[in-house]
């Protein structure tokens, strides 16, 4: 019931030891599906580590790792329909993979090329948004268009815990409630906004509580558990698509990485807290569950990792093989048609290149 639930129970299927606390959702009740979830998380982790390495070796620019958030992205992406729309922030790689965004496109963006946001296989999803929380606003507009056209589709938009302090976030959840829009706001609460811990970000009891003021549904879910994230998102999306009921999902996790490759979290993050969070992370518990309940062997695990590494290697090769943009292309996409000024400035730029190389 929107507006009436003052206590948000944290929904959890898998505990940190990989013990199943309640029956599997029907949609995930086969070994293949569970392995697929695991593979998506492993794929994300392997990719993420490789991306950091590319940055460290100078082959790519600044990059925001998503280590520790693999379960959120995986569960969110798995719950979305193809014709839903994702309006993401920058730690949503697991979701973007499922939405058809290519790993090499993600590298291409962080490697400084706009074509990384062109998405060959995904026409409608937004590119990641760098200015914090601004994407929440776009999500309600996309949701409005779906409702206007009476389509049973929904939008998922994501942000971090820091974003929930911003006006755009409040304006968006408020208008989503006021206009009854098919949108789910997923908050990746990884406890840190660069160096600011959650305690300094808000005095709210939970982030899910912010849904109360907006009069929308609120959920709190264990963000290290892809099964729980999937289940909550599936229910929230169903209500959004069919009943235009917006919701806010707070997914609890921990940022097991620096904010970006330009950050050094050891300056502000207690090591003890980090070590404790490491024990709760999604890949460890999911593997433990598969081993206990799904006859998962070390050989199976090695084979998944080998496969993911192969995929990432291919993506890096594709990234490195992308053609350079034609000279001066930065003039070409400002407007549908180049203005006279831009045409003149481009010619001036090209002449300069010709003269000076």
């Amino acid at each position: 019931m929107p507006g009436s639930n003052f206590n948000f129970e944290t929904i959890e299927f898998l505990d940190p030891n990989g013990q199943l606390k309640r029956p599997l959702p029907e949609a995930l009740a086969t070994r293949d599906k569970l392995v697929e979830l695991y593979q998506l998380m492993v794929q994300t982790r392997v990719f993420d580590r490789a991306a950091i390495n590319l940055q460290r070796t100078g082959a790519m620019g600044t990059y925001p790792s998503c280590e520790g958030q693999e379960a959120i992205g995986t569960g969110v992406g798995y719950a979305m329909n193809e014709n839903d729309v994702l309006v993401p922030y920058y730690r949503d790689i697991a979701t973007q993979i499922q939405r058809g965004v290519l790993l090499e496109e993600i590298l291409r963006y962080w490697g400084g090329d706009e074509w990384g946001m062109h998405f060959q296989h995904q026409a409608q999803d937004f590119p990641i948004s760098v200015p914090i929380a601004t994407q929440s606003c776009h999500a309600v507009g996309v949701a409005y268009a779906m409702k206007y056209r009476q389509q049973p589709r929904a939008v998922v938009t994501t942000c971090g815990d820091g974003a929930t302090s911003k006006g755009d976030f409040y304006e968006s959840i408020n208008i989503a409630g006021a206009l009854a829009l098919p949108v789910v706001f997923v908050v990746n609460n990884n406890r840190w906004a660069i160096s600011v811990p959650l305690e300094k970000q808000t005095a709210a009891q939970t982030i899910a509580h912010k849904s109360l003021a907006a009069g929308i549904d609120g959920y709190r879910v264990d963000g290290n558990d892809p099964i729980a994230v999937f289940q909550v998102l599936s229910e929230a999306l169903e209500l959004a698509r069919n009943e235009q009921r917006p919701s806010l999902v707070e997914a609890l996790t921990y940022r097991l990485c620096d904010h970006t490759t330009a950050d050094d979290a050891s300056r502000y993050r207690p090591q003890q807290e980090f070590d404790a969070a490491r024990e709760l992370e999604p890949l460890i518990r999911f593997k433990a569950y598969l081993q206990k309940e799904q006859q998962w062997s070390d050989a199976d695990d090695e084979s998944i990792y080998a496969d993911c590494k192969k995929q990432v290697k291919k993506a890096i090769e594709a990234y490195q093989a992308f053609p350079e943009q034609p000279p001066g292309q930065f003039f070409d996409y400002m407007f549908a048609k180049r203005t006279a000024d831009l045409e003149q400035q481009k010619q001036e730029w090209l002449a300069g290149v010709k003269r000076h190389g």
Partner: protein
């Protein structure tokens, strides 16, 4: 054919285009049942329904951000921001997203939308209701900034703005909203963007202006004619991107130029025009380019706003200085 004020012309452009294209939706504070605080959207709710004329909560950033999401889905949102002084919470959305989306996705997602705001002084409004900060937007790559100065241009340019495939900031000079009527044919025909309008031919000096200041500029031209100075008056209309060709052609004939705008002087659009006259038209200049503008001050409260506004006398003084320059 009907006689309309500029405000009625805006309203008619809405009605005309909303009747033609069901992707056009209007959103903003008080645009529905109240018809907008200036009544620019009056009657639209009754004609097109609450799904297309959306009374939003009081939240400028999400109004513009939401329009970006709508535009990305193929709707054509027209945002009304009540006064330019309240546009700033939405500047993040305008500059960081609306103006960049086409470029950053290499054309995959575009942003055909119009952001309307009444602007400018002279109606004795409260604080924050009278500023002219169009240069902020003119400076931003990826935006068109359009300012009508008559009922016919309000109608034709708004239609053009709605049909444009990219975001347009459409600033309406509220001082002339209800000042004078003009016969306008409701034929659904747009006027061209990115083009100046020559409102008066002349051979002695070129007066360049836009928005409400066109009124004083035309009045000055008439008075100047009585003392033997034949001024050409150019309404810039689209202040970004600038149609410098028309201005350069005019100055090539007259040799002199005075730029009139209500906005503060330094870093204004007048400075851009002057720089380009110096860069591309210096050979035709017989006198330094002069600017008659608002000052680099906070807009005074209404009791003293006339002291700030560029009036006819200041324009005539500047013209005479330019004419006497040897």
């Amino acid at each position: 054919m009907a006689e309309w004020t500029q405000l009625e012309a805006v309203n008619q452009a809405f009605a005309s285009e909303m009747g033609r294209d069901e992707n056009v939706v209007v959103l903003g504070e008080d645009v529905g049942i109240n018809g907008g605080v200036f009544r620019a959207t009056e009657g639209l709710l009754e004609a097109f329904g609450a799904e297309r004329v959306i009374d939003t909560p009081l939240a400028e950033s999400v109004i513009v951000g939401m329009a970006i999401g709508m535009a990305a889905q193929g709707l054509k949102p027209i945002v009304e921001l009540q006064f330019m002084g309240f546009i700033y919470p939405a500047v993040d959305q305008i500059i960081n997203h609306a103006s960049r989306l086409r470029n950053r996705t290499r054309g995959r997602i575009t942003c055909p939308m119009v952001i309307r705001a009444p602007f400018g002084g002279g109606i004795h409004a409260p604080e924050h209701h009278s500023e002219s900060t169009e240069a902020l937007f003119a400076h931003m790559p990826g935006l068109r900034v359009v300012i009508p100065s008559s009922p016919a241009r309000a109608y034709g340019l708004l239609l053009a703005a709605i049909r444009d495939p990219d975001p347009v900031v459409f600033l309406e000079p509220k001082r002339v909203y209800r000042l004078g009527k003009q016969v306008v044919e409701d034929n659904g025909e747009a006027l061209p963007l990115d083009t100046c309008f020559v409102l008066r031919d002349g051979i002695d000096i070129t007066l360049v202006s836009w928005g409400a200041s066109i009124k004083e500029t035309l009045e000055a031209a008439q008075q100047l004619a009585q003392i033997g100075v034949d001024a050409e008056v150019v309404d810039v209309a689209t202040i970004s991107p600038l149609d410098m060709g028309t201005i350069l052609d005019s100055v090539a004939r007259t040799g002199r130029c005075v730029i009139v705008h209500e906005a503060a002087r330094s870093g204004g659009v007048g400075a851009e025009i002057a720089a380009r006259l110096a860069g591309e038209g210096i050979a035709s200049l017989l006198a330094p380019v002069k600017r008659v503008t608002g000052y680099d001050t906070v807009m005074p409260l209404y009791r003293y706003e006339d002291q700030y506004m560029p009036g006819v006398n200041r324009i005539i003084d500047a013209v005479q200085e330019a004419m006497e320059y040897r």
